[in-house]
Each structure stands twice: as structure tokens, then as C-alpha cells.
């Protein structure tokens, strides 16, 4: 009998697949990176996803935010994303949370890990502060142009995002390619699976910098 996960179980194993089914992930931001991350986490078989964003689908989003189409213009992203994700499979429970992440943001009580798919460092720092108090790991990615940086703030090797990026500045309308967002999302989703399943070859204590212009990957050890 064919099953949804039969091609990936030989790679990650039954134990990991079951672990994913029992896991809950917060996807912070469902834009360029977040749409890719959330789609892949559903396809991996994560049991429950919280999608958090306060954005509306806008024309410039459509070049890279892969869950949205022209029919969705003007709609709230989290609800469109939930609807599209449920068409892939009903195996994942999806909670759409149309809200801004600010000082008053309440972390869902049952999350195992959060994924940073945000588009500014001010919000990243706020989210990271809240997560750090609960010792919840954060998979971080940021993109611009052809470039991506990724790391996992595991709260053990690295305590907080500001340990690595203490002084990042925010820019508006950051130029970015659809491929950059999708590659970042693909790797973040894989990193979530690695952390949840306890695979040692993850980005805890390491910074991965990807240059899609020259096709170069560089790992920088942070500890």
C-alpha cells in the first residue's frame, strides 16, 4: 500500500517520522521563506503548525511567496496559507494566527521549536527574547539578494540571536530573488527536522552562509 511518506522514511527512519508527527512548530512569518518552510514541514509530516503573520497578500509578494496566487491579493496571508496547506494533506493540524509579533506576543504553549521566517531584525529580537525565556530553540534565516545566512539558536551552545547578530539593522523593501527565499526555506525546514529528530549534523553553534551568485556554501563555527 502506498503512503504519503514512503520516499522519505528510508532516509529519516520510522522513529524520526513518528517524532515529527508528535511535534509542533511555530512558523513566524509566512512570506518568501515562510511559505516554503510551512509547505515543506507539512510534506515532512510535522503534526502541528502554528502560522503567525499580520500581512496581506500584495502584488510584489507573488514573485516568491509560493503559496499565494493572483486570486489571493488582498487576503490575509495566514488564512490563505492554511487553506493551501490543507490541500496538500490533512495529516498536519494548522493553526493560523493573524497577529503581529510584539512584546505582548504569547507563545503557543505546546511548541517544540520556532522557525524565523521574519523580514526584519526588530521582530526577530522580540521573538527570540520571548523564546529564550522558555528555552525554545529558534532556527534563524535571513536573506538579501543572492545571499542567505542560517543558524540554530539552541539555547545551549548559543543562548540568543543577539549573541551572533547584536547590531543588525533593518532596511525596507529588501531586494531578493525567489530562488534565495526558496533555498532558505528548504534548508530551514530540513534544519527543523534535524533538530526535532536529534540529528547531530545540524546548525547549532554554526553559521551557514550561502552565496547563490557563486554557488558557495560556507560554515563558520560559532563555538
Amino acid at each position: 500500500m502506498k503512503s504519503f511518506f514512503e520516499r522519505q522514511i528510508p532516509v529519516i527512519g520510522d522513529k524520526c517520522q513518528n517524532k515529527l508527527k508528535d511535534s509542533t512548530v511555530l512558523v513566524a512569518g509566512v512570506g518568501g521563506i515562510g511559505t516554503s518552510v510551512s509547505e515543506l514541514l507539512v510534506r515532512y509530516g510535522v503534526g502541528k503548525l502554528y502560522l503567525t503573520d499580520n500581512g496581506i497578500v500584495d502584488e510584489p509578494d507573488l514573485n516568491r511567496q509560493i503559496l499565494y496566487t493572483a486570486d489571493d491579493l488582498g487576503k490575509k496571508k495566514v488564512f490563505v496559507a492554511r487553506e493551501k496547506l490543507l490541500k496538500i494533506t490533512r495529516e498536519t493540524e494548522i493553526i493560523a494566527n493573524y497577529t503581529e509579533i510584539d512584546e505582548n506576543f504569547i507563545i503557543p504553549p505546546d511548541i517544540d521549536i520556532a522557525v524565523d521566517c521574519l523580514d526584519n531584525f526588530k521582530t526577530r529580537y522580540l521573538l527570540d527574547d520571548i523564546l529564550a525565556k522558555e528555552s525554545i530553540p529558534l532556527v534563524h534565516a535571513g536573506i538579501e539578494s543572492f545571499f542567505i545566512q542560517l543558524t540554530t539558536i539552541d539555547r545551549k551552545k548559543i543562548k540568543k540571536l543577539k549573541d551572533v547578530f547584536p547590531n543588525a539593522i533593518d532596511k525596507k523593501n529588501i531586494p531578493v530573488l525567489s530562488s534565495t527565499a526558496s533555498v532558505a526555506g528548504a534548508i530551514e525546514a530540513l534544519e527543523v527536522i534535524k533538530v526535532l529528530c536529534g540529528m547531530e549534523e545540524n546548525l547549532s553553534g554554526k553559521l551557514l552562509i550561502i552565496d547563490l551568485k557563486d554557488y558557495e556554501f560556507e560554515i563558520i563555527r560559532l563555538v
Binding site: 535571513g142 551572533v164 543588525a168 539593522i169 533593518d170 531578493v176 552562509i209 563558520i220
Partner: protein, 108 residues
Amino acid sequence: MNKREPGGENFSPPYQYKIKFFTLFKLYFKRDFLVIESERAPLKLFELIEKGSEILGKSLKEKLISKGKLKRGAIILIKGKNVLHLKELETEIYPEDDIVFFPPGGGG
């Protein structure tokens, strides 16, 4: 003698310091690394930036320093540690240290 010190078994002058540039700095400076030679080791970060500016032009210093302090937005890692958590521009750098300069992408 400590091998990290000048005259140690692994190092002798001129000492070489390798700065790696990533992301937009790589595009801006049109190179992915810069090797700086000095008769001294260690060098302080501001000295390294001064020497780098002698090779690349004042744009390096202008990108990184304003009014005697590191500008916001540029990440400088020495052996994986952000210099803002070390001694900022006074951070001592040794020739074998992994030196990384880049501005992080903020988009998502």
C-alpha cells in the same frame, strides 16, 4: 614559548591575517578575502581595518567605523565570536584567527 606569540614555532614575521568577506561585502569589495601582512602580532581590530583600508581604499573603514566606533549593520566575527561581545575595535586578533566580515540579510 606560546606558538601564538611572535617567534613561536608556527609564526614568524611578516604575519598574515586573512579577512573573509561574505554576502554584500563580497560584492562591494569585489573579492572574497583580503590578506594583510604586518610585522606585528597580535593586531587590534582597528589596526587591521586601517591596514585593510590601505589596500582597498577608505571604503573599508567607512563601511565599518563611524566616530571611532563600529557601525551598526556589519557583523565581524573573530573565531566565531562577535567583536561587540569582545573588545570591539580593541579586540586583539592573531594571524591564525578566523576573521569574518559580512552584513546579515534581513529579508524573509
